[in-house]
Symmetry: C2
């Protein structure tokens, strides 16, 4: 005998991303702000001047990617239980991608799901991580391997927060902006070539355009069964670089910048990208002092490391290769030889 | 500036519940069977005789409610990473509610979500827990406080597994069947009064009818924003009893049976249930040797304990009270005095 459990339904997870000076936020519930000591010292006062809620409680976790773990999420959850947060309560992430990813994951599992709000304070999280509902933590096997798709209730992006970012972190965010343009938006790329993203009006334009692009991608493929994987352009190579350098030499956006150049090299060898387009991307990355080269010590080990990545646990690696500027292709059938040729280009020869 | 993230879409989480002798199951993916040593010893061989997949791997976790924790889920996840399970892999829960809840939760967070299949081996999980997508673990603050709504891909209910259940566990499952009938289905209740659930054909009928009722409830209210909470009939009181007796004196269905009688007493005092209906429910519970009384030592402490339950973290307790047999009401505005009257009825006076 068969019984059908009918769960075909329309679900509305839509939300708004607010870009500009933080407006007043009123929440008719108990709110837990999740942040870290550094961000709290710089920006909590400003947020609190804009936020009203039934009750506000602050949870501070340690700063850094190495604390983005299930153990930290469990601490957040225990704190919420201790202070009797309920199913109507709201979590608010004040910080960069690490804080946002953990807050979203905690919200997704606390009593089987509560709402959360993103207030990203780094350029990287403003243009990318805060939008789209990917949440999660790292473990010994890799980055973001445990998590959930859990969309925020709203995102507030305020350029005010960027004033305290150091130059490298700021440029790292620009790398993700360039990523969006190369993959999806040629006009935007051309605008970027002329723009100065250290100008406040222009960075707001760039953030808005990146978020709009991300919105388009996420609304078409929320759970990354296809198109959304294109946002990993630069990341397949970048993750290996981050791992090899123990997350110390480069910040995330920097390794993505190098990874984009490697993906461009691959695209070029596949006949998908012309040399002058590669050069234009390189020039744009260099304009913001992003690294474009990396000395691979052991190309075979570098290749093997692809298979440790979540996206390749099924023994195939999906490479995201731009098809000229403004287009992108996902390829999971590229011969090892071709990839090794790319890696060899970076072995002991490339210097910038 | 505002940007809309449009995520309004039709989602189909529908699935089939198969009831009867286990048919051949073919899965075109790598499968991890999650089970415990006891169930494995009794039933793994039988399951393996019916299951074919690309690869099959067995993960055994310790037996019992006290191991339904985030730590055990993390062990399962690490095991999956260690053995290179990917996003297309499938988890299969072979066991009772504890195994099903943990397997479902592990599936919901492994790489942000993989499919899972329920093969419930206890009557309790066959008629209730295996259907509906509630997954999760306990922690120091209470039961099922961390989790997710994650629907299985399919459920296979085979009465063959029930032959090894001891009598108390079997009766505990019957308590949940009676729960369904009292809340939603008067005809079913009347059928139960005449039935013998130790007969295989009749237990299959009872399971099917319970699952159909659950399917109706879950399809109307997957995330328990209203109607689905009615399935907690007997549980508000029952959870306190379980806690007070440290999960040792009663199995879950037994404390639910007592809890139903307490809820009936409350319904009666609210004028929602006639005395003869209370007696019919009591008679049916006693027919399967389920407990219907509990000696409350400290009624004030018992009342306070309601507020530790997840469903009352917002300082209001929702009581589920039957409205005659076949109907149910959710009430969160019952005066403490009336509840205390009910509890006092059970304090040192009731014996069976």
């Amino acid at each position: 005998m068969k019984i059908d459990i009918a769960l075909k339904k329309e679900i509305d997870n839509s939300y708004e991303v607010h870009i500009g000076t933080l407006e007043d936020i009123h929440i008719d519930a108990k709110v837990a702000i999740i942040t870290n000591p550094k961000v709290s010292g710089l920006h909590l006062h400003y947020l609190l001047s804009k936020l009203s809620a039934k009750e506000i409680y602050i949870i501070t976790v340690e700063d850094g990617e190495s604390f983005k773990t299930l153990a930290t999420v469990e601490k957040i959850l225990n704190n919420l239980f201790e202070h009797k947060f309920n199913r109507s309560s709201v979590l608010l992430a004040l910080g960069g991608g690490v804080i946002g990813d953990m807050t979203g994951f905690a919200a997704s599992v606390y009593q089987r799901g509560v709402d959360f709000i993103q207030v990203p304070t780094t350029l990287l999280s403003q243009v990318d991580a805060s939008v789209g509902g990917k949440t999660g933590v790292n473990n010994n096997y890799g980055k973001n391997l445990i998590g959930a798709f859990h969309q925020p209730r709203a995102v507030y992006i305020d350029p005010h927060f960027l004033s305290t970012l150091d130059k490298r972190e700021y440029s790292a965010g620009i790398a993700e902006i360039i990523k969006m343009a190369v993959c999806f938006d040629k006009d935007f790329f051309e605008w970027l070539e002329k723009a100065d993203l250290h100008d406040e009006a222009q960075i707001i334009t760039a953030i808005s355009r990146s978020v709009k692009t991300k919105a388009m991608v996420v609304s078409q493929d929320e759970k990354e069964r296809g198109l959304r994987a294109a946002l990993n352009y630069g990341h397949t190579f970048g993750h290996v670089i981050e791992n090899e350098t123990a997350y110390k030499k480069y910040v995330h956006g920097e390794s993505v910048a190098i990874g984009m150049m490697m993906a461009n090299e691959l695209a070029s060898r596949l006949g998908l990208m012309k040399s002058d387009e590669e050069q234009r991307i390189k020039k744009l990355l260099l304009k913001y002092k992003l690294p474009v080269a990396y000395d691979i010590q052991d190309t075979e080990a570098f290749y093997e490391a692809f298979f440790l990545d979540k996206k390749s646990l099924d023994s195939k690696i999906t490479f995201i290769v731009p098809h000229n500027i403004g287009g992108v292709e996902l390829k999971n059938d590229i011969d090892k030889d071709i990839v090794m040729d790319v890696l060899n280009t970076y072995a002991g020869t490339v210097r910038v």
